[in-house]
């Protein structure tokens, strides 16, 4: 059963890599040769078979190993998973959404049987077989958000909606691009986005918040966000920045292809039925520069985007130290040919 899932690491010896199929379905985030923040929100509707948009929750070849990495993070730092007391109903909403999606879309791996509040969940890849009572925390080994969060790829946060604001009052965040759940818990939409440059003045957050406050049940939306990471490291948290920060100084012309990764977050947002909270999924995809340039259009475009990226974004995303080395390497893959619009591989 488990041979569909790769055995690999996201720390220490970093054995992670993408299969050719996984490269082909990579959600390349740049639809033109430059990049700037925008309110890039679209309906989270079904995409082509095999694409990362085929199902609301995407499970891929990295599933089992990513879940193992999450377990390590949570063992070392329980504060990566937190929920304020009033979020219990939203936690159950979240568990229901994930279990029903995974069981419906991947019946070969997951199954969910419900009889009233008596639920039976089977997760074959992780060897889990759990009967529990929906709504009764004492029947699960963890609180619902942590329970299902340990079995689903992607980070998740849950936002309470009150006083015309969204409040990040719960989350399970182990693979973040340098922000701290422990620090941000309890903040509102404007506060937790405080450190982002330029976008506040562009009114990106005013418009995004207004949109989200009106998010409707059964009409989830999505957007892509991206950054770059040295080594295929999932846990690029500020908590551990003193451990991974120095990796940024290790990039050389010889190792760019293997060390420098584009890290794309497929972010989706759902209104939750009982709690009226909003679920935010941050499903991360890593791709090495060497893998990325196997798609000629992506190689060209990555070079051009990185070359023209505003300095504020370069600094904010932490790319400053290795940008020039990466640009030099990528320039070999940019012959100046025109690129077509959209992120697709052509």
């Amino acid at each position: 059963m488990n041979q569909e899932f790769k055995k690999e690491t996201f720390r220490d010896d970093y054995t992670f890599f993408n299969s050719p199929e996984s490269i082909r379905r990579f959600p390349f985030p740049f639809w033109e040769d430059k990049y700037m923040y925008s309110v890039n929100i679209e309906p989270h509707t079904k995409g082509p078979a095999g694409s990362v948009f085929e199902f609301p929750i995407d499970i891929n070849e990295h599933y089992v190993s990513e879940m193992q990495d999450r377990a390590i993070v949570l063992k070392e730092d329980p504060l990566r998973c937190q929920a304020l007391p009033h979020m219990m109903l939203a936690q159950w909403d979240f568990l229901e959404l994930i279990m029903t999606s995974m069981a419906r879309d991947y019946p070969q791996w997951f199954s969910l049987k419900t009889e009233g509040d008596h639920w039976h969940w089977i997760n074959k890849p992780l060897n889990i077989d759990q009967k529990f009572v929906f709504g009764d925390v004492s029947t699960l080994p963890y609180e619902p958000m942590e329970y299902i969060g340990r079995q689903c790829q992607g980070d998740f946060s849950i936002q309470d909606q009150r006083d015309g604001q969204l409040w990040i009052d719960a989350g399970i965040i182990t693979t973040q691009a340098d922000w701290s759940l422990d620090f941000d818990v309890g903040m509102n939409f404007m506060e937790w986005h405080g450190p982002v440059p330029l976008a506040h003045d562009m009114k990106v957050f005013d418009r995004a918040l207004k949109f989200l406050l009106n998010l409707q049940l059964d009409q989830p939306v999505r957007r892509l966000n991206w950054t770059m990471t040295i080594n295929p490291r999932l846990d690029t948290s500020p908590e551990n920045y003193n451990k991974w920060g120095k990796d940024r100084t290790t990039v050389t012309p010889e190792n760019v292809g293997d060390k420098v990764h584009l890290r794309v977050e497929l972010q989706a947002l759902w209104r939750l039925p009982r709690s009226n909270a909003i679920l935010f999924s941050i499903r991360g995809y890593l791709i090495k520069m060497r893998e990325l340039v196997t798609v000629p259009k992506w190689g060209r475009r990555m070079h051009r985007v990185l070359k023209t990226l505003p300095q504020e974004l370069i600094d904010y995303k932490g790319i400053t130290r290795y940008r020039d080395t990466t640009l030099d390497w990528l320039s070999k893959y940019d012959d100046g040919a025109p690129t077509s619009q959209g992120g697709g591989a052509d």
């Binding site: 903040m187 405080g194 908590e239 920045y241 120095k246 100084t249």
Partner: protein, 201 residues
């Protein structure tokens, strides 16, 4: 002036009297006492019912302030030696507070932050705390690595009082923690520190 444009940082619009409250609980430190005195001069007539002041005598002239606070129409002035002891006393006062209590906080960002945090922990609406900033801009900083707090930080870079990491003091502020975020400043090249300057005076 506080630095503007930091979105996560709270605003301190200044004290105003709540004419509907029947118990007014003030927390203050240092020059924050003057904000209370000013409020009574401005709106004293609208402050009806019980008045309780918890005051941290953190400055050289604090004893004078305590004397002046006691001359206001107050039920009691709790004078405490430090912010930490004042917040502890505030908790005692609020634990037995009834409906109709209004909380005011005046003074340093640390005092205000801790009073707001306390009110939130006690299940009150933190946004209902009336605030006025007076005195130092020194920051309370949480180390994102060991989670320890370092008090009274005046410089852009500070050594964490707990784990010793050299922290860059960010502008990111958490009301829940009543602290700014400190992140290892020399993680990328250990030992390479920018110039250390006093910026929060």
């Amino acid at each position: 002036m506080l630095i503007e444009g930091i979105k996560s940082r709270p605003q301190y619009p200044g004290l105003v009297a709540d004419p509907h409250a029947n118990h007014h609980v003030f927390a203050a430190d240092g020059d924050g006492a003057q904000a209370i005195i000013d409020l009574f001069n401005r709106h004293g007539a609208q402050i009806k019912g019980r008045v309780t002041i918890v005051y941290a005598e953190t400055d050289a002239n604090s004893a004078d302030y305590t004397t002046r606070l006691k001359q206001l129409p107050v039920e009691f002035v709790h004078a405490l030696p430090t912010i930490v002891t004042a917040i502890r006393r505030l908790q005692g006062v609020l634990n037995v507070a009834r409906m109709g209590t209004r909380i005011y906080a005046a003074g340093t960002e640390t005092l205000i932050g801790l009073a707001v945090q306390l009110s939130q922990e006690l299940g009150m609406d933190p946004q209902a705390v009336l605030t006025e900033h007076r005195g130092t801009l020194a920051r309370r900083v949480q180390c994102v690595h060991c989670k320890g707090f370092t008090e009274n930080v005046k410089t852009n870079i500070v050594k964490c009082a707990h784990c010793g990491t050299n922290l860059l003091v960010r502008d990111h502020y958490s009301k829940r923690l009543a602290a700014f975020q400190g992140v290892c400043v020399d993680a990328e090249i250990p030992g390479e520190l920018p110039e250390i300057v006093e910026v929060f005076k």
